[in-house]
Symmetry: C2
Subunit: 150 residues, 2 copies
DNA sequence: ATAACTGCAAAAGGTTTGCAGTGAT
DNA sequence: ATCACTGCAAACCTTTTGCAGTTAT
């Protein structure tokens, strides 16, 4: 099912409305490649003449998340980033402390171990966060990797 | 080496001073069992008559972290918690969305996989965060587990 | 018609910082 | 005598919220 349709369905199921703002937001969110934050989105929307307030963004990103179209990635110090999830499957992140770049990785084995840990502790998992911090190939070379963990 | 001595050594190495406030903070941090946040600490310090300002706490927790005596655990929505690390080894966390409880787990296998992923992507790891969210045994039973992921 | 939605501006919540005075080395 | 440290209050930053007016259904 196309993402737009999926979103429309989600909205109607929850008695939410398909507003001009949501349409604009959806369109942009689907076209971004890579990770983005609220400011990125605001800038993009502004550039294309869509006026969507910051408050509306903050109110609607959770809706996009719940509908499964995007994922929220919590970064250190309470900064949230998002990423499109349509047509993609689960993965985790490596964050470069040098250039801020985000690499992705996936490991079915880690997933399996997680599930086993939960089973053993009688814990019902609803989600997880697995981030590796460090320095990417180019940053590790130039001396910045000597900086301390933050 | 005793923790207090280790801290003193760290301080002098970095030309930092052993103040009354740092002594009080150290003492409390070592005696807490489990995880704590800045408010917990402030409350505890107050209760025992030590007056340490919030600013001083915020300025010194990073020092304790750097010296390796405590670890910072970043929770969702930018809330930081800390935990004593003296005499303990690495572990990760399972956070109960029902009661807020934090369970710990460790998996040498996950660590191994992480390292391998980093090697493959030429990523120099300096740290990682691995949290499982969900509901602990007691909370999963009472219907709260039906709540949505947050 | 009626809920839900939006923008605005204020508020909140956690953390950081400038300043002037204090204290460890 | 230095230079780091402290408390205070103000500043910051990201996110949330109350309100009054707007719009999708």
């Amino acid at each position: 099912m196309p993402a737009a349709e999926r979103f429309a369905l989600y909205l109607s199921k929850h008695r939410l409305k398909m507003t001009r703002e949501r349409r604009a937001l959806l369109e942009h969110v689907l076209s971004v490649r890579g990770h983005f934050d609220v400011d990125d989105l605001l800038r993009r929307l502004g550039r294309t003449g869509h006026r969507v307030s910051r408050a509306t963004l903050y109110r609607n990103l959770p809706v996009l998340v719940e509908s499964g179209l995007i994922h929220k990635v919590e970064m250190a110090r309470g900064q949230a980033r998002y990423e499109r999830m349509v047509g993609r499957h689960h993965h985790d992140h490596m964050v470069c402390l040098g250039c801020g770049d985000i690499l992705e990785f996936e490991s079915p084995e880690v997933e399996r171990i997680q599930e086993e840990v939960c089973r053993r502790k009688r814990f019902v998992m609803t989600g997880h966060t697995h981030q590796i911090r460090g320095y990417c190939g180019s940053c590790a070379g130039d001396g910045r990797a000597r900086g301390k963990e933050r």
